[in-house]
């Protein structure tokens, strides 16, 4: 009789198929590995935004009609459906809206050092406008909702125009305590 596996829902006990079962053809199976490659045009808004990141700047887009500052920026406002108006440069600081301490990787294997990940509202942008990103230089005991944080950038020569030009967000000096 199969024993319950940690992490699987209680209502679905059973024996997992192992890689060995597949490789040794103990079960019927088929497989295929398609060549799947895309190269998406980034478009007007994201192109400008990632060029900003390369320069160490966080850029937002304004919608005058809705009085909003949009991060990530877009060329249209999803509320009023009009085109957005202006580019503005924002601070690289903000506060943690919410977060999770992730103990598993994407293949559900346990990670030795849990990953701190969450969403940040950027200062100067509309509420709940900002990034999903990693957190660093803080422990899982220290992280909390509302924590003030600041971007930690890659060195200018290492930046490539990507969201990962920001390595993570660290506690803002003086704002890191609960």
């Amino acid at each position: 009789m199969a024993k319950k596996i940690e992490g699987s829902p209680g209502y679905a006990p059973g024996t997992r198929v192992s890689t060995k079962d597949i490789v040794q053809k103990k079960i019927s199976y088929s497989w295929w590995e398609p060549e799947v490659q895309y190269s998406w045009s980034m478009g007007q808004a994201m192109s400008k935004f990632i060029m900003g990141l390369k320069d160490g700047k966080i850029l937002g887009r304004t919608c005058i009609k809705c009085d909003r500052v949009l991060v990530p920026p877009r060329m249209f406002c999803e509320y009023c459906y009009g085109p957005t108006d202006n580019w503005i440069e924002l601070k690289d600081t903000g506060s943690i809206e919410t977060y999770s301490i992730s103990y598993l990787d994407s293949d559900a294997r346990r990670i030795k050092d849990p990953i701190l990940i969450g969403v940040i509202s950027i200062d100067g942008a509309s509420p709940q406008h900002g990034f999903m990103h990693y957190f660093g230089e803080m422990t899982k005991e220290e992280i909390h909702i509302g924590m003030k944080v600041k971007a930690v950038w890659k060195a200018p020569k290492d930046r490539e125009g990507a969201i990962t030009d920001i390595k993570y967000f660290k506690p803002l000096k003086g704002g890191g305590k609960k």
Binding site: V23, S30, W31, E33, P34, V36, S41, G43, F76, D107
Partner: protein
């Protein structure tokens, strides 16, 4: 009283082989904005339901539905994605309006196929994994999550052809089908070539079309064989672009003061997927047209239809589809073409837009491209390619390789 469904707004981007200046969201926004202005509606207030037609693998997103609302005006509104050709979206909109659930519905479909670098493999991924896919080429690098390195005792599994790294391009299916079509119908390769000549010529008169060319049958016949008997020029080139329609119930349309074009019939049908079993004569088109004709009260399509747009992503498809939907007897379409019956002043003006051969393969937006031309014609806005007194038109869509699915929509000018 039975509710009638009509098209009240159309919008589209240009169609281009590449669109590096915009992302797919911006393409969608452009076509939607134009359709909403054309219909005179504010999407945030006036549109009850939003439909997009897209296939995750072509887009490169899992659960593509989730990425749709912003750019079509649908944030926190009823919104769904139909995984299929744009014409299926029109059918979904039709049902939502007909049942009284919604009064105004938008339908968007697009192609950003230039973002996809490995189209051939994505289409092979639509073949049956046990029965058909292994015959298209080898599988070399199977990996499972956390799988160990394969050893002599646990060797790397390998099925399929032993010719390393050679997978057949899935368009061979169209070559196969054309082979069958030529034999069973008696149509010639030259007649198929004339489809290309006609549609590329029509494209000169459609500002939307990017692949216009003044060529002769000799040019087509002289282009290289890619999937014999298909030659390079028999195959429509790929393009990016987006198309949006706004549909409404008749009363709403009249309140908005727009000149409605009625969606009077709709049908759709799917073949079995087994490539060795299914018919080669576009039975999906026959079945879907019969359903649409019945709904639209069309008993003699040849007499009652003034203009048609049928799927012509491969040249022979235009002739095959015309026969399948009852506008020509089997084997007759090629002859009608040569006699000029498919021209603007012929008995059945066909693909006046330039079709996919003249505009390009818009993938999931292909059916909408056909419908767009019909609406434009029925509105009388087709300028130099305008068919005189066009009152009833048909748009037919096929979902493309390797599918055996399609849909048909019949449109009528107001008052009918």
């Amino acid at each position: 009283m039975s509710r009638r469904v009509c098209v009240i707004g159309i919008g589209h981007t240009d169609f281009n082989s590449i669109t590096p200046d915009v992302e797919w969201k911006e393409l969608m926004y452009e076509s939607c904005q134009k359709a909403y202005v054309d219909a005179g509606v504010d999407p945030r207030k006036d549109i009850d339901s939003f439909i997009t037609c897209a296939e995750d693998y072509l887009e490169g997103f899992s659960i593509f539905d989730e990425f749709v609302p912003d750019q079509i005006g649908a944030v926190l509104r009823p919104c769904c994605t139909v995984c299929g050709d744009g014409l299926y979206g029109l059918g979904t909109a039709y049902m939502q309006i007909k049942t009284g659930l919604m009064d105004v519905v938008s339908v968007e479909s697009h192609s950003k196929i230039s973002d996809l670098l490995t189209l051939g493999d994505i289409l092979l991924h639509a073949f049956d994994p046990v029965f058909e896919r292994p015959v298209t080429g080898p599988v070399e690098r199977p990996r499972y999550g956390g799988s160990p390195e394969y050893t002599k005792e646990d060797p790397k599994p390998l099925v399929g052809s032993t010719k390393e790294k050679q997978r057949v391009h899935p368009y061979f299916l169209a070559g196969m089908e054309m082979q069958d079509y030529l034999r069973t119908s008696g149509t010639t390769e030259e007649e198929c070539a004339e489809v290309v000549v006609k549609n590329k010529m029509n494209a000169f008169f459609n500002p939307l079309a990017d692949y216009e060319a003044k060529i002769s049958i000799d040019n087509v016949m002289g282009s290289e064989y890619l999937f014999s008997p298909l030659k390079r020029l028999d195959i429509s080139p790929n393009v990016d672009g987006a198309i949006t329609f706004v549909l409404a119930e008749e009363k709403t349309a009249k309140e908005l003061g727009v000149d409605p074009i009625y969606l009077s019939g709709f049908g759709w049908s799917s073949e079995t997927p087994w490539l060795s079993t299914r018919g080669m004569s576009a039975d999906y088109a026959t079945k879907s047209s019969q359903m649409a004709y019945k709904m639209a009260g069309i008993t003699n399509p040849r007499k009652q239809l003034d203009i048609v747009e049928v799927d012509d992503r491969f040249s022979y498809k235009e002739l095959q589809h015309l026969e399948a939907i009852g506008l020509a007897r089997p084997g007759e379409a090629g002859q009608m073409l040569m006699e000029g019956e498919l021209a603007k002043d012929g008995a059945i003006p066909t693909n006046m837009s330039g079709g996919s051969l003249g505009i390009g393969n818009c993938f999931e937006a292909t059916g909408m491209q056909k419908a767009l031309e019909i609406i434009t014609q029925l509105r009388g806005h087709a300028a130099k390619r305008q068919v005189a007194d066009a009152e009833v038109g048909l748009a037919q869509a096929w979902r493309g390789i390797p599918s055996g699915s399609g849909a048909v929509a019949v449109f009528e000018r107001g008052g009918a």
